[in-house]
């Protein structure tokens, strides 16, 4: 790695002279191919995906390279997917990266990274991801307390072997510790810098131009951290910030409330049955309400509150989940 670094600084002049790019030894080398270098940046809204791609594009422009960038953004408010394609080199035609052709994939969110992994070149693609997990609201459609979350259960170990090289960094946490959580994207830029031949000066200059003036210091600090992280981990040194705590996934759906029905009071008006969001109540043959599907009941109280006859009461007496992890989470 130390060698690679030396190479990089010596190549600064070459780049300025529009010489072909050279990645770290053993990695993709555009000198032997006329194809542009493809960097795909993905995340969810509000993380700075576009900023990462702008820094990269600006560097390329400063160095007189051709660069094309195209993005999908604007879903930030709904937490939607945001991605940006950056292609640069001697000649760039199309602005978008075809599937399986990205040289580097930068993910600012864990599951988004996994989602786009098939865009990486199978044999040589480098995957750099924040382990930050932003679970979207629709990942859990069930309202049952402790219900299974439809969010990636993969760990970094699952990724190894599926791409040429993968780095899972707890960038958000590291940036937060450095003073600004929002600088996580710059930390990943630091990581990205180790895969490209641009000199540190070029990176630092452009980052300083792009970030809000008050945050220049912290951004440059985390940029260094990102670089060191990758270098360290390539050398097999123990690196800070790689902790990956798996999501607590309950093994069962714990019911925490019990629903009791005073049958003598029910007049079969049907209100609770139609208003129950989970549709778990029904009228029996005597036109009296019955909890037909106790598994589905979330204890939301709607039936209790809307019953004009006070025939339903939800007993908040806890029926504690058996999974100790869930118990802990609930507590």
């Amino acid at each position: 790695m130390a060698k690679a670094k030396k190479n990089k600084s010596s190549r600064k002049v070459d780049l300025a002279n529009r010489m072909p790019l050279k990645l770290n030894p053993g990695r993709l080398d555009p000198e032997t191919s006329d194809e542009a270098i493809n960097v795909l940046i993905v995340g969810v809204g509000g993380q700075g995906v576009i900023m990462v791609s702008k820094v990269l594009a600006q560097i390329c422009q400063n160095l007189g390279l051709q660069v094309k960038q195209s993005e999908v953004h604007g879903m930030a408010k709904r937490g939607g997917v945001v991605f940006s394609h950056v292609r640069f080199g001697k000649t760039v035609w199309s602005p978008t990266i075809p599937m399986g052709k990205a040289d580097v994939l930068i993910a600012l969110e864990w599951a988004e990274g996994l989602r786009w992994m098939n865009y990486l070149r199978p044999a040589t693609g480098i995957f750099i991801t924040d382990t930050k997990r932003i679970v979207p609201p629709f990942a859990c459609r069930s309202r049952i307390l402790g219900a299974d979350i439809g969010y990636s259960k993969n760990t970094p170990d699952d990724v190894i072997g599926k791409v040429a090289e993968a780095f899972a960094i707890d960038a958000t946490d590291m940036a937060a510790k450095a003073g600004n959580e929002l600088a996580a994207n710059t930390l990943l830029l630091g990581a990205l810098s180790t895969t490209l031949t641009f000199s540190n000066e070029v990176w630092r200059e452009v980052i300083a131009q792009m970030v809000p003036p008050k945050t220049i210091e912290v951004n440059l600090k985390v940029f260094d951290q990102g670089q060191k992280w990758i270098e360290g981990s390539r050398k097999g040194e123990p690196v800070e910030g790689s902790a990956f705590v798996p999501l607590v996934q309950p093994e069962e759906y714990p019911m925490r409330t019990t629903l009791s029905i005073t049958e003598e009071w029910c007049k079969g008006c049907d209100i609770c049955i139609k208003m129950c969001p989970e549709r778990c109540l029904t009228l029996n043959k005597d036109q009296v309400v019955e909890l037909a599907d106790p598994e589905k009941c979330t204890g939301c109280h709607i039936c209790e509150w809307l019953c004009p006859d006070f025939a339903i009461s939800l007993n908040p007496a806890l029926n504690p989940p058996s999974n100790p992890k869930v118990q802990e989470a609930v507590a």
């Binding site: 007049k267 008006c269 809307l306 006859d309 006070f310």
Partner: protein, 302 residues
């Protein structure tokens, strides 16, 4: 004259303890604690909105931390009036249209009690309309819960002052042509210190509105939009109980009002809900006691 004793509030009404344990009170409410269980099941028809309103009222009373022994429920005649019967507190089932008059006397005599009136649209606006405007004008510390189901439910479905245009009732077999009262605006115009409206489907919101009304020192008028499922609903094809209660959120039966040109100034939006008025008008009981204090002091001075 000197022997005439005016009862004094024993101590300032302790109403605000709810602020410390408000959330706890919301959670630990058990409706059974406030009901006369021996009278259950209650008499109301399947799906009747009055039952839902009763829950909201009892819940609000619980949140306010009102002692049942210091609670007086005064109700009139009608299905709405019958609701009071089921409350395990001091209940006073009075004559048709007059609960506010009885409540006024009670509150004047026993300012230490929390006086809550439960009345209906017929009870409060038709036969008792006069009592409503004067209770509102005086601003005596009473909470008046008017269960508005837009019909005389108990007597089989006659037209009421809030029956919308074109509705069929036993007294309007060809559809109603009378303009309606907007009860909340009527109470406001008459001077009620606190006015609010809510629908029964939003139980927590209704609970909080009533709770705020109970907390208010002065006349609080709370209009609860309730469903008479069996009489009004059936006669007018308003759907099943669940459809009626759901319909409350669909902008409160707008079509009925759209056709009624006369109604428009009264109900520009078919239904708006929330707190409409919360003023700091003087409370009648306090003014009255101040006056009496002054007179008694003067007399002692002589």
């Amino acid at each position: 004259m000197n022997k005439h004793v005016i009862p004094q509030a024993e101590e300032p009404l302790k109403q605000n303890n709810h602020q410390d344990n408000h959330l706890e009170n919301i959670r630990d409410f058990e409706i059974q604690d406030y009901l006369r269980l021996d009278l259950f099941p209650h008499f109301m028809c399947p799906g009747c909105g009055h039952g839902i309103a009763l829950r909201a009222l009892l819940w609000a009373i619980h949140i306010q931390g009102i002692d049942k022994n210091k609670l007086a429920i005064v109700s009139g005649i009608g299905c709405s009036g019958r609701v009071g019967t089921y409350i395990d507190a001091n209940t006073y089932h009075t004559t048709h249209g007059r609960p506010l008059a009885f409540a006024t006397g009670l509150k004047m005599a026993r300012p230490d009690l929390h006086v809550v009136v439960i009345t209906g649209d017929g009870d409060c606006l038709a036969i008792g309309g006069n009592h409503l405007i004067h209770a509102a004008r005086r601003n005596l510390d009473i909470t008046c819960i008017m269960l508005n189901n837009e019909i005389y439910g108990m007597t089989g479905g006659q037209v009421s002052p809030t029956t919308p245009h074109d509705r069929f009732t036993t007294t309007t077999p060809a559809g109603n042509i009378e303009p309606v009262f907007d009860a909340s605006r009527l109470a406001e115009a008459a001077g009620a210190g606190f006015v609010g409206r809510e629908v029964t489907i939003h139980v927590p919101r209704l609970r909080d509105l009533i709770s705020e009304g109970l907390d208010y020192k002065g006349f609080s008028f709370i209009e609860v939009m309730s469903d008479c499922t069996e009489i009004n609903g059936r006669k007018n094809d308003l759907g099943s109980s669940s459809e009626m209660v759901l319909g409350q959120t669909r902008n409160m039966r707008p079509n009925e009002y759209d056709n009624n040109v006369v109604d428009h100034p009264f109900r520009p939006n078919s239904l708006n809900t929330g707190v409409f008025v919360k003023s700091d008008r003087p409370e009648y009981g306090a003014s009255y006691r101040d006056m009496v204090d002054g007179i008694q002091k003067k007399q002692k001075g002589h």
